[in-house]
Structure formats: C-alpha cells, structure tokens
C-alpha cells in the first residue's frame, strides 16, 4: 500500500538515529511509485526499470546521511534515480558498441516486454525519446511525463531555466520531425 508522508515528517524521522529505519520506510512508501515510473520512462523496459529502482533505493539508504536538506527531498531522489537510469543506458550503449546496435537491441527488448502494450505510435515515441541526447531526454521526460515546472527541473538538473527551455525546444522539434516522417 502506498502511504504518503510529508517531506518534513520523513526528514525529521531520518535525522534521528533511532527512527532512521522508520523514516526510510516512509520515504520508500511515499516515493517508490513516482520514482519507478520516472525510471521506467527513461529505460523503457520493465525489467531494467526494476533493477535500476532497486539499486537506486539501496544507494539512497547507504547515502541517506549525505542528504543535507539543501535541496528538496524529491529533487535529491530524482537526481539519484536519473543518474542510475542513465548509467544503465550508458553501459548498454558501450556494450552495444554504437547507437544503431543499441537502439536495435532496445527495440527488440521493448517489443518483447510483456509489460509494454503500446501501439506502434507509443513505441515510436519511446524510440525517438530514447535517441535524444541525455539532457534533452531528461528535460523532455520531466516536462512531458512529470509535468514539472522549469524551476523544479532546474533544481534537479542544476541547469539554468533558459538552458532548459532551449533543450526542451530542441527535443520537441526532433520528436515532431520523427513522428511527422512516420505518419
């Protein structure tokens, strides 16, 4: 069952040694779904998203002391989740040797994923997003799927709002061109 707790409640529990584990449980139950979906949008395949999410939570638990409250809790978590997901994709790309092979493998995996029942259009969108440069992809996912404001995205990515707007514009253009070419 998903239970929501406020960031203040969670941080207060995490700060005390005695209630650290309880605080972690509150953190997981509040953010597990949002973070999973965020990771899933980056990596596409459920199995990969599952691995990334688990690794990401282990990292969060091991480095919980390094959260100093300078940024929001969700900002901190999204940053870790995004980094973890991008690291997986980088490894896959390196393993594949070139972008074409990587995209081919990814496409096969997506089509075989029993937890993706999108139409051709949905798969094409995922494919185009997957081909975007990392920063453009991140901005697009935060804006399109998470409906985040530029201010929030700026906090997570540490990039200026002007820069983010430019990245989103380029991402949107590329996606439009790719979809228009297809339909």
């Amino acid at each position: 069952m998903q239970q929501s707790h406020t960031d203040q409640e969670i941080i207060a529990a995490l700060k005390k040694r005695r209630s650290k584990d309880a605080g972690f449980r509150m953190l997981v139950s509040t953010y597990k779904e949002r973070l999973y979906w965020h990771v899933r949008k980056i990596v596409g395949v459920h199995e990969d998203a599952d691995d990334v999410t688990q690794n990401m939570w282990v990292k969060v638990y091991n480095h919980i002391e390094s959260f100093n409250g300078d940024s929001g809790l969700y900002t901190w978590l999204y940053r870790i989740a995004t980094n973890e997901a991008l690291t997986l994709l980088r490894k896959r790309k390196k393993h594949a040797g070139c972008d074409e092979v990587f995209m081919e493998d990814w496409n096969i995996q997506m089509k075989a994923d029993p937890y993706f029942d999108g139409e051709e259009a949905a798969l094409l969108l995922e494919e185009v997003v997957m081909e975007l440069p990392e920063k453009q992809k991140q901005v697009f996912l935060y804006k399109y799927y998470e409906n985040m404001s530029y201010d929030q995205i700026s906090q997570i990515m540490g990039t200026s709002i002007g820069g983010l707007k430019a990245q989103f514009h380029h991402a949107k253009k590329k996606i439009q061109v790719a979809l228009e070419r297809h339909y």
């Binding site: 997981v28 597990k32 459920h46 688990q54 937890y115 949905a122 228009e180």
Partner: protein, 121 residues
Amino acid sequence: MKNKQQIDKNKFKVPTNYFDDLEQTIYNKTIDAPRQRTSIIQFVKPWMGVAASVVMLALATFLWFNKPESNQMTASADGTEQLAYAELDDMLYDELFAEADDDHETLNDLADFLLELEDME
C-alpha cells in the same frame, strides 16, 4: 499525423502487486539485510578472539607438558626394545623399592596409631 498528446502516455504496465513486492525487496536489501549480517558478525567477532586465545593456550600447555626430557623414553624405530627396557625398569623398581614401600606402610600405620592416641586424649 498523430501528435504526441494523442499518443497514450500509459502504455507501460507492471506485474500485479508489483509495488508491494518492490517495497519488500527494497527492505530486504537495505533495512533487513545489513542487520542480519552485522548481527552475526557482531556475535562472532568478539568470540573469535577468545577462541583464538583458548586454542593458543591449549597448544602452549600441550607442548609444555609433552616436552620430551633427556631421560624419558622417546619414540623410536625399535619399539620392542624400548618396551623391554621399560619392563626391566619396572622389575628393578620392584626389587629395589619393595622394602621401602613396606617401611612406608609401617610408618603410615604408626602415624595412624599416634593420631588415634591423640584422639583418645
């Protein structure tokens, strides 16, 4: 042309009860896992030192009390000969000290007798 808004955002699915299972897996790998491991280590660690000390002490004691002396019979290739010597030693001992043992017996009897006398007083 289909624009991006027309494309369903929710084409991604997860297995049934996935998030409950995920939560449990996360706890198994974090809160629960290290505690089990550290509790075993914490229990075993101090006893490892004690066990090592006991083993060392036992070994030292064993070596100390089993130190072969120059006049003591040691293992030899000719065991039969050693056994014969040991038997001979026993026989000589009996011969030489049988009398002395008798004397001891007499002395013991005397001591008992004196004690009895003291008690009587």
